[in-house]
Amino acid sequence: MTRGPYRQPPTNQPEKTVTISSQSERRERDPQELFRRAKKPVALFIDDAHDLHPKTLTALKRLTELVAEGGQLSIVLIGHPKLKNDLRRPKMEEVIAGYIEIFRNTPLVLQLFWIHFAIPKATGISTTPFQSGVIAIALQSSAYLADVARAGIQAVPAGQWEAADALGLSTRNKWLDVVLPQALKIVIPPLANIAVGYFKASAALALLSVGELMTVTSRIAQYSFKPIEAYTLAGLIYLVLGAILSNLTFRLERAYRTPGARP
């Protein structure tokens, strides 16, 4: 029997100055409420999901905006080699490449803490943990997405570009009607991979108590003294949701496959 007394892991979060902004956050701080909720893990998950709903929507919106921006930038700046001559801006290209390499080659957790603790020191603008989480995921995923978008555009056969030029299509029509629809099809599988990957990676945001599934799980585990049930349930939720997500993306992939094309 080696069930020794439990040593709490040292928390590495400096004290935060949190202004209680919403009703749900105020409820979270009430010990009685916490105890009541700790008894009902499932009810709490649903409750919390409900609380997060409007936030999730804004976060999603911001994420898509950022992703779209990243994609656009990559399209304009890195573009097709044939267009490089007229769109090439070496300085910007290097900046974008540096951004991509920096965000791909450092851990997400570090980026999260950098955004949450270092940016306020540098700029005076502070973000809530949730906002920091959204920004960190948006920044890292767009570094990957920019590369995916570039690869997708470059994978459109050169003949398509030449044909569009030969038909005298305007730049706008060439991009919107010829290149991008084909690139989008090519991009779906890696895009889906990244989406599932970040669904998994979001659990790491619990290190900052962002308030997602893993944060709530650790809180329940601590208050209810039932770590096995709480963590196992969380693992199951991640597994099931992840499986559903990859199944959906697989269907999307199949639905957009060109008939007769090589997979």
Partner: protein, 219 residues
């Protein structure tokens, strides 16, 4: 913006110990993960029925579970479930190697399947026995094919090892955040930690890209 170069440069000596812990974490989980990966790979390639099913279930499960959940599960639930208390370091290694094993199993399998069929048939024709054919003909060629994927897995492992700071293993990120909490020099210290991670990971991902391009030449 107040940027203190002294704090920035003063951080690096304190991070050295953490760097070694991170490297030890990654190497240990790479070794254990390779063993698990070899077993799952053999299970999926040779095994039939229950063994194949088990290996597939293992791979799907540990590729779908977030590392954070695994680390917390092993550290907090492991003592109750298995009646054995692991240190924080070995819990972290175990969690990382379970995940790495699932990915490595798939990498090994893909590498072995990518070796042209003719090579195995030629080995058969020469009268080589199965173990000799596998070890001297298939594996060396498969190893070459799987190198880029293995290097990119190492970069993923280094990145994920920062999550182990959550259970109090004094690796790179943990040292950085403790230092930052003590000195309130978050900007300088986290930037320094980021630089160390970048210096560790960037060469590996460059190498992975180079190898991938190099291998694509023949095709």
């Amino acid at each position: 913006v107040t940027w203190d170069w002294g704090a920035f440069f003063g951080t690096f000596p304190d991070l050295v110990g953490g760097l070694w812990t991170t490297i030890a974490l990654v190497l240990a989980s790479l070794i254990v993960g390779s063993l698990i990966g070899a077993v799952t790979c053999i299970g999926r390639l040779i095994g039939k029925g229950a063994l194949d099913w088990l290996a597939t279930a293992y791979v799907n499960m540990f590729r779908g579970l977030p590392e954070t959940v695994l680390i917390f599960w092993i550290y907090y639930c492991g003592p109750f479930v298995f009646d054995a208390r692991l240190s924080a370091f070995s819990s972290g290694v175990l969690a990382l190697s379970l995940v790495a094993g699932a990915y490595l199993g798939e990498i090994f399998r893909a590498g072995i399947l990518a070796v042209p069929r003719g090579q195995r048939e030629a080995a058969d024709a020469l009268g080589l026995t199965m173990p000799v054919a596998a070890w001297d003909v298939v594996v060396p060629q498969a190893f070459r094919i799987m190198l880029p994927a293995m290097f990119s897995l190492i970069t993923i492992l280094i990145k994920n090892s920062s999550i182990i700071s959550a259970i109090g293993v004094a690796e790179l990120f943990y040292r950085g955040s403790i230092l930052a909490g003590d000195t309130f020099r978050h900007f300088e210290i986290f930037t320094a930690v980021g630089l160390v991670y970048f210096a560790l990971i960037f060469p590996l991902s460059l190498l992975s890209q180079r190898l991938e391009r190099h291998l694509a030449i023949g095709r």
